[in-house]
């Protein structure tokens, strides 16, 4: 198909490419081929003037969608697309459905819910009844197959825009937690379509650079995996605690320029005992399962499994089932390749970083990890990553990690008051915050007030990092501490109760421009905290209930009320 020279050029060029770049190029060529087959122009024009406007709008929780949006913008440039990147949380429905080229990148969070900051715009968009004709769009949906409603938000957005009459340029991509490669490939297909679609006649033809010129563009893995050595694994919970929370210290093999608020992706390996059991049950000693997700079972995988196990009657509800449950019920011979097809690579698990570089140095990261242990399907279950860190990585041995930046969860200037609200291990980033403030205090002589609301079960047994907080207060960087210990008295006290109890002081902080940070449980705590702030606006500012809710939303839009919940 190729001339010897072409082939040699390609091979030479390929040798310079990283894996994501190769994937991106595969999509790029596929896109070019699609254009040609639709009667489009052959090779893209060589003009480098960006002329096609496009908007990249993201719905992000942890920052992945946002990061992808910026990557997409950079990737679009060589195609002559002048893309802007916008956060859906900052937009109105009209902003989104108005005519133009639209690339939507949308994360689904937990059980099919939109990112917390985007709840309003998502709801408004779903309720919208106007027309979106004149809009050309494509949706890149991010999700996690371990959850039931995989990519639900992206799917809903894709269908809604279609229903509103917008033009779907390309089938949506539903990307799992290892989204980088598929997203790279998909964008390679989609961007040329944007370049072509809706292009006003008077504009020059969509342009793209020579394929080889794009070589420097894609690099989604914005931070690479690095090796880390487990330096310390100490229990933070008291000897009589009902829980078990660990303080994990990692020494990194390279500098990692993390900021307070960032998270660290940990690449866990499965429990060898579990792997051995799976191998035995599938009579496949060669199965490479250490770094595969052997919990999540997708419908596709189930169909594949049913082919290997003819007597297998697929259970209706897969929700709580892991492969070990299925296989122990139906031991079935599988090949190593079957296992490859049945499972996805182990997704990394993100932990909020509990240290600041200013204190820990560029090659050390602290994490706060609660090993997940429970019983299900008659078996003891252990959280893959949490128990990997807590139980299986010996001190001094290595593991792989990667920085996961969390741009929304950042400290303000050193003199701005902060209110930190964390339950359980959700208090981790606040240790990083206060370490940073310690550093800032040394530099500036003073720091803004810092108020910490901490929720846990027992004051005596579960007061994570109690001595650290005491030291922060002594140093002047923690000015107010409010503990909500739910099991210490007959009346269960949670952080929201403490927020209300100290409402006047909290609102004073807000008046002084305080930034509010909420970290921890997404299901119960985060909504309760939001609600408590709305109640403070009612009680202390005389706002109506709806105005108070708006006031909290206003803080969110101003990025003064941010969540890192899970």
């Amino acid at each position: 198909m190729l001339s010897p020279k072409q082939l040699a050029d390609v091979e030479d060029f390929a040798a310079t490419l990283s894996a994501p770049q190769k994937l991106w190029l595969s999509g790029y060529f596929a896109g070019l081929a699609a254009q040609e087959s639709q009667g489009g122009q052959g090779a893209p024009a060589q003009s480098s003037a960006p002329v096609t406007p496009a908007r990249v709008i993201y719905f992000t929780e942890s920052g992945n969608a946002e990061r992808l949006a910026h990557e997409a913008m950079a990737l679009a440039k060589p195609f002559g697309i002048n893309a802007t990147v916008e956060d859906a949380a900052d937009l109105s429905v009209d902003d989104i459905v108005s005519a133009g080229n639209l690339l939507l990148i949308a994360s689904t969070f937990g059980e099919g819910t939109p990112p917390s900051r985007c709840e309003d715009i998502f709801a408004s968009l779903m309720a919208h009844e106007g027309s979106a004709a004149g809009l050309s769009y494509a949706v890149l949906a991010l999700g996690d197959r371990a959850y039931k409603d995989f990519c639900a938000v992206g799917i809903a957005l894709d269908e809604k825009l279609h229903a509103l009459g917008a033009k779907r340029l390309h089938p949506m991509l539903k990307a799992d937690v290892d989204f980088e490669a598929p997203a790279s490939h998909w964008l390679g297909e989609v961007l040329p379509l944007f370049a072509k679609a809706n292009t006003p006649a008077e504009y020059p033809s969509p342009t793209a650079p020579k394929p080889f010129a794009a070589a420097k563009a894609p690099a989604f893995a914005s931070s690479a995996k690095i090796k880390a050595k487990l330096k310390a694994n100490t229990t933070l919970s008291g000897a009589r605690s009902l829980g078990d929370v660990r303080h994990i210290e990692l020494s990194l093999s390279a500098n990692l320029f993390y900021e307070p608020g960032d998270a660290l992706d940990v690449y866990a390996h499965n429990d060898p005992a579990l792997v051995a059991e799976l191998r035995a049950l599938s009579q496949c000693e060669s199965a490479q399962l250490e770094a595969r997700d052997v919990q999540t079972i997708t419908p596709d995988a189930l169909r594949l499994f049913a082919e290997r196990a003819p007597k297998f009657d697929a259970p209706r509800d897969l929700g709580a089932l892991h492969w070990i449950d299925v296989l122990s019920q139906h031991p079935t011979r599988l090949s190593a390749q079957d296992w490859q097809n049945l499972t996805r690579p182990m997704p990394p698990r993100a932990y909020s970083i509990a240290s600041a570089r200013a204190e820990a140095g560029d090659q050390e990261v602290h994490l706060t990890v609660a090993p997940v242990r429970y019983e299900a399907q008659g078996r003891a279950r252990a959280g893959v990553a949490s128990c990997f860190l807590a139980d299986r990585v010996a001190r001094g041995s290595m593991l792989e990690v990667r920085l996961r930046p969390n741009k929304h969860f950042r400290l303000p200037a050193h003199d701005v008051p902060i209110i930190m609200i964390g339950a359980g291990t959700g208090v981790a980033p606040f240790r990083a915050f206060l370490q940073q403030r310690l550093h800032e205090r040394r530099a500036h002589g003073a720091t803004g007030t810092a108020r910490l609301f901490f929720g846990q079960r027992s004051f005596l047994q579960d007061f994570l990092y109690q001595l650290d907080w005491q030291a922060f207060r002594k140093a002047g960087v923690l000015t107010h501490f409010h503990g909500a210990f739910s099991r210490d008295a007959p009346q269960k006290i949670y952080v929201q109760h403490k927020i209300l109890e100290h409402g006047a002081a909290v609102m004073e902080d807000i008046d002084k421009g305080a930034h509010v940070y909420v970290c921890g449980d997404a299901k119960a705590m985060a909504p309760a905290v939001k609600d408590s702030f709305a109640r403070l606006f009612v009680a202390h500012k005389g706002l109506s209930e709806s105005a108070a809710v708006d006031a909290v939303k206003g803080l969110e839009r101003a990025r003064r009320f941010v969540l890192d919940v899970y």
């Binding site: 100490t234 933070l236 000897a239 009589r240 650290d468």
Partner: protein, 552 residues
Amino acid sequence: MNEDHHRDAAVPARSPNEGIKQNSEGLRGTLAHALPDELTGALSDDDGILVKFHGMYLQDDRDERAGRMRRRLDKAYAFMIRLRLPGGVCSPAQWQTLNAIADAYGNGTMRLTTRQTFQFHGIIKHNLKATLKTIDGALLDTLAACGDVNRTVMAAPDPERSALHKAAYELAKRLSDAFLPQTGAYREIWLDGEKIIHTPDPLYGETYLPRKFKIGIAVPPYNDVDVFTQDLGFVALSEAGGKKGAALKGWNVLVGGGMGTTHGDSETHPRLGSVLGACAPDAALAFARAVITVQRDYGNRTVRKLARTKYTIDRLGAPAFKQLVEERAGLALMPPQEVAFLHNRDRYETVKGDDGRLYKTLFVENGRLTAPMRAAMVRALPHVEEIRLTPNQNLTLVCRTAKDLALAEAALAEDFPAASRLRAAAMACVALPTCSLALAESERYLPTLITKLEGLLAAHGLEDKPITVRMTGCPNGCARPFVAEIGFVGRALGRYDMHLGGDASGARLARLYRQNLSEEEILALLAPLFERYARAGAKPSFGDFALEHAVF
């Protein structure tokens, strides 16, 4: 010089506690400010001293100490809260309230003390106010249950001589109320009471007493309150030698008893109260006030371990002390009456009082009421009219009728098992893990040792001999080991000094027999003594026998 505020110009620097008391603004200190601090379960050192006057000790769980710092946790600080319960009398309704506190805020247990009151352990700082408000709701308080003041006043719970008990109990209550610190601090800090302008305490002044002050009232022929161990003791004198139905005639007055010593400090020692004389029934309050003010003004304020009344009376001499007391009371003491005590134990048989009610004492090992025991008590309460805490860490139920008592006993039987006479007469202080003074185990260890002693005694057919065994984890002497027939005083983990030869009525000090003994050594030393005691016909009491025959 104002006699009431006598100060010896030659005394060296006062003990630091004196300054803390003086600067406390009527026991307030910085408590109101410290309580809302949720970052620590502790108090400042000064507040830690002041909070005792409010009836609580800051402690930490010593079992947990090791490793907490590595876990980035502060010590497991929690409070012991002690009630002021003169005479140890409480109503079933009050019991209910206190019982609920153990679950809501405490560690699930209630502790009956050697001074007839309740203690809760494991109450964290953030629950103190709620606990004290609950106690206040039951018309009870904790003020002056600890600290350098007159503590809760003991009174023999004697069931048979109801008239004398009534007199003893009423005196206990009067004394306890009369000598309460007059400060608004308690209501202000714990009960959200209004802030009252501080004025010096009319009785105690700004520095209160040099040390704790204990009063006990005995009703012969029983010395269950261990009247000889009290700073101030009253012994009920009655007509007809204390027969049933007898009325009160007056009180013998004893001064200067006390148990506390310090290991290795020969200046400290246990002491039995000196009988100063006797007084009329209605003169007790005046004499008590006089004794307290003499101790206030003459007690040692430079060396705390020499500050108890016993050292003051030793220093002044009993005649001089007596003269000061008489001057201040404006009354002369009469000659004391000879009184004979039978013993200082509790009696477990059902007793009918001369008020017609039925009295049943339940054995509570070391005073520790566990959750099942508390639950059983709650089931029994509907049939109970009154509850008395005994000086031996036990409970006396007062029932109107035999049917009531039967119902109450049925509710309790399973969770209050009977014990051997040895066990039923034994006492131990709390010690580890909560008491900060403890050098050795006490409450958690004595039951094991008793089991082994039971074996030794049974081997010689002595299982029915009532011998008082008492143990404390330190030489402070809360379980009054220095007047026991066999007293164990902790020196270090697993090591005890053994004292022998107290008499059965608590009227004689035991003598130090051997120091620093392991359990093995204790048993090896007692076995031959028991054997010889058995061979001697197990007479007279073991304390008497040991004093005579053991080689000290």
